[in-house]
């Protein structure tokens, strides 16, 4: 249970890192927090011949608000996201979702960019970023491109990242006032991988009528349901409404069957959680409106 040999590079700047990726071709893996990659290397499930470690590229670690938009450098530790006062105040969904990631030791090393680039099906940050309509900034030696969440996540552990590209930043747009949030997941033990996780954002107008109710689910890739979300617009938050939304959103929802749970079970639980997070988000929207 020790990794196979590899050539190791620890660049200190982004151009240096990108140059390495351009030069080394395939057989290269990028090392961020290592909380998923190194266990796989210890098992020898993955045997990169070259490892490009981003942990000394200081310019990728930042958390700032620019023009109301949250900009997260890809190497920002998950624990920092969890502890940030501006995130807690303006994008509390991210703090709630981050708190569900594994255990504190993992979050001390694991990074925001790493979790998103790894795109593990039950991960919290991909589904949270999807419901937040975040944008993903990809950079290579050739240039830069920006993708929406639905363009970035393709399927299990597969994103739009090309071999020579690094995810450098995630941009989270500001949320309308009077927007409530909620994140819930079900796992066998505290800190285990989620069997299913659901995130919701509900925006109310001054009369308490729903302007928008977004809900996103973990799965092979994080997904929303335009049809389900359309039902809520113009309605008042009510248990029956959210039950209907949850039902429409989870009908035919793509879920995996594995040793932990069947797709059927996951779909069922997804429906229950969807109703709960929509209700919780609506309640929080009301309270935010009163501040």
């Amino acid at each position: 249970m020790k990794p196979a040999q590899f050539e190791y590079y620890d660049p200190t700047t982004l151009p240096e890192a990108l140059g390495l990726l351009a030069r080394l071709g395939d057989g290269v893996k990028v090392l961020a927090g290592g909380q998923s990659l190194v266990p796989m290397m210890n098992f020898r499930l993955v045997r990169p011949s070259h490892l490009v470690d981003l942990n000394r590229v200081g310019e990728l670690c930042y958390l700032r608000v620019e023009n109301g938009e949250l900009r997260i450098g890809a190497m920002t530790r998950q624990r920092e996201l969890e502890r940030s006062a501006s995130v807690a105040e303006q994008w509390p969904l991210l703090r709630e979702a981050a708190g569900y990631i594994a255990h504190v030791q993992i979050r001390n090393r694991g990074t925001v960019g790493g979790s998103l680039a790894h795109a593990y099906p039950s991960a919290e940050l991909p589904v949270a970023m999807t419901v937040l309509e975040a944008e993903f900034v990809l950079r290579s030696e050739q240039g830069e491109r920006t993708l929406r969440a639905e363009e970035f996540f393709i399927t299990h552990m597969t994103t739009a990242l090309e071999l020579n590209e690094i995810l450098v930043e995630v941009r989270v747009p500001p949320l309308p006032s009077r927007t409530g949030w909620a994140f819930q997941e079900v796992s066998r033990r505290y800190g285990d991988f989620a069997l299913v996780g659901v995130a919701a954002l509900v925006t109310l107008d001054e009369e308490g009528v729903i302007r928008q109710a977004r809900v996103a689910f973990t799965g092979p890739r994080p997904v929303r349901s335009a049809k389900a979300e359309g039902i809520s617009v113009g309605q008042r938050p009510k248990e029956e409404l959210f039950r209907e939304v949850a039902g429409v959103a989870t009908e035919g929802l793509d879920q995996d069957t594995d040793i932990h749970a069947s797709a059927e079970y996951r779909r069922e639980v997804a429906g229950v959680l969807a109703q709960r997070v929509l209700e919780q988000a609506a309640g929080r929207a009301v309270r935010r409106g009163h501040s």
């Binding site: 249970m1 040999q5 190791y8 290592g34 255990h103 504190v104």
Partner: protein, 160 residues
Amino acid sequence: MNKRQVCMTINGREYRGEVEPRKLLVDFIREDLGLTGTHVGCEHGVCGACTLLWDGEPVRSCIVFAVQANGARLETVEGMAPNDRDLHPIQEAFWEEHGLQCGFCTPGFLLTVKALLRERPHPSEREIREWISGNLCRCTGYQNIVSAVQLAAEKLAAAK
């Protein structure tokens, strides 16, 4: 595979070595430095036996390469007791509350708890259980570990 020089500060003392990049931090400190207090349990980041403090934060040393810790400031269990005769208050608490049996998981717990009590000097039982959830114990059933943390919190508060 080229070897690299590494230098890190552990428990306030500087240590040097030469390692292959693939050498895990836990193996480096145990085999090359003789600091065997940190244990190897699962080698894939789930059990917490390898927990040490990196700049005061608990991390799993079985899923970090030694070369990554070049220049780092680490604390291991060997650095907890102030001298050969006395124990750290957290160690005393574990002893008094019988928070260990075989002791294999204990170093990992002690360092996690040290970080917990620094951040939350008066944790609730729920917060304690959440914080230690990343450390597995096969012997105790955790009840006495939780009591030990509560006693440790009192001891540390009294010492201030």
